[in-house]
């Protein structure tokens, strides 16, 4: 699908339907609530009100209060209850309102949900999808901007999924809900409404103009563990996910670099084959993420590429990341790994 959509035009063709990422997520939830009686959606403000980002708008009215409901402001309770619901046989889809708020629920995710299958030798499983908006760029300050994905990729038994387009958001979320393992599904909130390019001083494009906003109605799945080729190229490989896919793409376009951009989509399980094939072809690798640098997922990617593709590399692997500070409110764009930081890293890789 993604390769087909790359060639689609900016204008909506007849019969095409372009929606934003919020609508795509809402549709995925609606589809799964309709298909499977065991799916329940819960979280703070997600019921009658429809969620602070509107991802669950209309779902309670359509599916009823016992399938789509508000919860106390208690992330430990939300995820703990979801573990019990999973043990009963439901497929809970809890929302944590911001990824920054997930920490009170970490023990239930790390020690309980992620290990239940293992410790009970598959007698009990925790088939839950924890949805949570993450990432910065919305002036959310240090408690509404974080990208904590590497806390979860480090945990045995958890899957971590991050979509970058409306088409992927819907198909990946459906796969996550059907998956029998616990999944953390981080939604890059900066691109809920449009594919933000990192040029914050330029007008934001809406999803309506983007071919990956063409989203079929009804049910479809995108398999977990498969990366998406955003562009084919020869000069270097760019590994990114979430918002940074679009930023990297815009920078490469602006600089006229023949980059092969991989949107990883799933961090665990990772599409190592796609990464190896691309780096072996280009010989150069840039990793981009918004999260803080030290022990970020980029460190894992860098190690994997170095271990597995060393003799194909023509330059050291480069990481472009957020800085190792809390996300600053007024200096948000100084923190954000934007076009300048990415551009210089590309120059450095290509020079070697």
């Amino acid at each position: 699908m993604s390769t087909e959509t790359q060639i689609a035009s900016e204008a909506e063709a007849p019969g095409e339907r372009r929606i934003n990422m919020i609508e795509a997520i809402n549709e995925a939830l609606d589809v799964m609530l309709t298909r499977d009686d065991n799916v329940v959606v819960m979280g703070e403000d997600i019921g009658y009100f429809g969620g602070v980002f509107r991802c669950t708008a209309g779902l309670q009215a359509k599916h009823g209060k016992t399938r789509v409901f508000d919860t106390p402001i208690n992330e430990c309770g939300i995820i703990g209850a979801a573990v019990g619901m999973g043990a009963y046989g439901l497929r809970p889809v809890p929302e944590i309102q911001f990824a920054d708020y997930i920490y009170p629920g970490l023990d239930q995710l790390i020690s309980e949900a992620a290990r239940l299958r293992y410790r009970s030798a598959s007698e009990y499983i925790a088939p839950m999808t924890v949805r949570s908006p993450f990432g910065g760029g919305i002036f959310g300050g240090q408690t509404h901007s974080q990208s904590p994905e590497s806390l979860f990729t480090h945990v045995a038994g958890l899957k971590t999924v991050i979509p970058a387009t409306p088409y992927d958001a819907k198909g990946l979320l459906i796969s996550c809900i059907e998956d029998n393992d616990p999944v953390v599904f981080f939604e890059p909130k900066r691109i809920y409404n449009g594919p933000f390019t990192g040029f914050y001083d330029k007008p934001v494009e809406p999803w309506k103009k983007h071919p990956d906003a063409i989203v079929p109605e009804g049910y479809y799945k995108i398999p977990l563990g498969k990366a998406r080729h955003v562009s084919e190229g020869e000069a270097l490989t760019v590994l990114a996910y979430g918002t940074m896919v679009h930023v990297a793409e815009a920078v490469c376009r602006e600089k006229g670099v023949d980059a092969e951009i991989l949107d990883l989509r799933t961090l665990v399980p990772l599409d190592i084959e796609a990464i190896e094939a691309s780096v072996e072809k280009t010989g150069r690798c840039l990793i981009v993420h918004e999260a803080t640098r030290t022990s970020g997922f980029g460190a894992e990617l860098s190690a994997l590429v170095t271990e597995r593709c060393f003799y194909h590399l023509e330059a050291p692997v480069e990481r472009v990341t957020g800085f190792d500070t809390p996300y600053p409110h007024s200096l948000e764009w100084a923190y954000f790994p934007g076009p300048v930081r990415i551009g210089e890293a590309i120059d450095k890789i290509l020079k070697d």
Binding site: A81, Y88, Q108, Y118, S122, E123, Y124, I272
Partner: protein, 438 residues
């Protein structure tokens, strides 16, 4: 600029101003090793005098029961008052039999650990009624989310002893593939949730299970057990909040056995109020029960089960009991509490009290008790021998090596496949290719 000397210095502590110096209270238990024990300040109400409200009662209309102690068995060994569950003698003998079996099992497994057959064991001596009698008041398919000292539930539900021992030995017969610390059982067939080992995490999970049962219009309820020390965990308060918000069909059993390893109940707030009183702030029904009185334990659990099953809501029950032994085989209570406490515990021993009740009503005698205890010990001994054929911890008869990588996920992703290959390679390097899977 104000003159700094004119500003009262609130950081100066005692003497900095004329306000009294603050003092930090650090709780201290009533007795330490070697101290005499005095329980004279314990108010233990008479058996049979506590009212039994209707199961639909509002929590605020039964407040006193969160501070009193529901008791049925009196000093005369007879059952008294409205909480008497009026169980037939056969059921009482079954209950006594399960409790005797738990005690025999604990004795044998404790010794097994001392003999090096496993790494760890936890007895529940003195607390048998809180799991055996309480769980007998539930339906066999009601879901239980236990803590680590509720082996009585499995025995009451007929879980085979050999499965328990295989798990304790982490041997090749262990259904949990040797992954869990001994006594962290799991049995879906017996509606017994996998024991975590982390404290109080099971409590919001029990509420979630109960919510699911209610969402589905099922008739099964959930019950969870947690120690009084662990009620200090945030998870317990999450559980209480979710339970009350959704009126979940769940029972929150708090086993107040006075000790959390070496920390007495005061470190969970027990000096200020009862654990049952936690219920009131949440709007949950709260009952405080003599945990060494098997009939009271049964009656309270039955009351709460009826309440939950009729959609009248959740109940928090505090079972007031005493941990007669150490926390685990890794613990030595003589290092922090007086040995006399156990001897003089004013609520007696739950097995003896139930036995004496059966004798008092003419349905049991000492000879039968001796014979039963002997039969329990022999059954445990024989089953232990049987289980040892599957191996004991550290003696090679564990699950095949490759199983280490199973069940992390439903399917094996590439990185675990690679690591499994590495592990097999290490195995062959160490032992040769004949037993790569040993």
């Amino acid at each position: 600029m104000a003159d700094r000397a004119d500003t009262p210095n609130t950081r100066d502590g005692a003497g900095g101003d004329n306000r009294p110096a603050l003092a930090l209270h650090v709780p201290e238990p009533r007795s330490r090793p070697g101290d005499p024990v005095n329980f004279s300040d314990f108010t233990i109400s008479e058996a049979g005098v506590q009212p039994r409200p209707d199961e639909s009662a509002k929590p605020e209309d039964m407040k006193d029961l969160a501070f009193d102690l529901v008791r049925v068995l009196g000093d005369d060994n007879k059952a008294h008052g409205p909480w008497d569950p009026k169980l037939d003698p056969e059921t009482l003998r079954t209950m006594l039999g399960h409790m005797a079996m738990v005690r025999a099992f604990d004795e044998r497994m404790f010794r097994g650990q001392r003999q090096g057959k496993t790494s760890f064991y936890m007895k529940c001596t003195g607390e048998e009624a809180t799991s055996v009698a309480a769980s007998m008041a539930l339906a066999s398919d009601d879901m239980v989310f236990p803590s680590y000292r509720q082996q009585g539930i499995l025995i009451a539900r007929g879980y085979p002893l050999i499965e328990m021992i295989n798990q304790i030995y982490s041997n090749k017969g262990d259904k949990l593939k040797g992954r869990q610390l001994p006594i962290m059982y799991s049995s879906r067939e017996h509606s017994f949730f996998s024991i975590s080992g982390n404290l109080a995490t099971q409590t919001p999970q029990a509420v979630g299970w109960a919510m699911a049962s209610a969402i589905k219009g099922d008739s099964r309820i959930a019950a969870t057990w947690v120690g009084e020390g662990s009620t200090a965990e945030g998870d317990f308060h999450s559980a209480c909040t979710f339970a009350t918000v959704y009126n979940a069909p769940v029972i929150l059993n708090v086993i107040n056995n006075q000790w959390a390893i070496s920390s007495f109940s005061g470190f969970a707030g027990g000096e200020r109020t009862t654990f049952a009183a936690r219920a009131l702030g949440y709007g949950l029904a709260g009952l405080r029960v003599d945990g060494n009185d098997a009939l009271a334990c049964y009656a309270a659990q039955q009351w709460a089960a009826n309440r939950a099953r009729a959609n009248h809501g959740p109940t928090l029950i505090e079972y007031f009991t005493y941990r007669a032994e150490g926390h685990s085989t890794s613990d030595d209570p003589s290092g922090y509490r007086s040995a006399q406490e156990r001897e003089e515990w004013p609520l007696g021993d739950p097995v003896m009290r139930l036995k004496n009740h059966l004798i008092a009503i003419g349905e049991w005698d000492e000879d039968r008790q001796v014979a039963m205890d002997k039969a329990c010990a022999e059954e445990v001994k024989a089953t232990t021998k049987e289980a040892e054929k599957n191996g004991i911890l550290g003696h090679g008869l564990h699950h095949p090596f490759r199983t280490m990588f199973e069940d992390v996920f439903e399917d094996l992703p590439w990185h675990l496949k690679e690591q499994a290959e590495q592990a097999t390679h290490e195995r062959i390097t160490k032992f040769g290719s004949e037993r790569p899977d040993a």
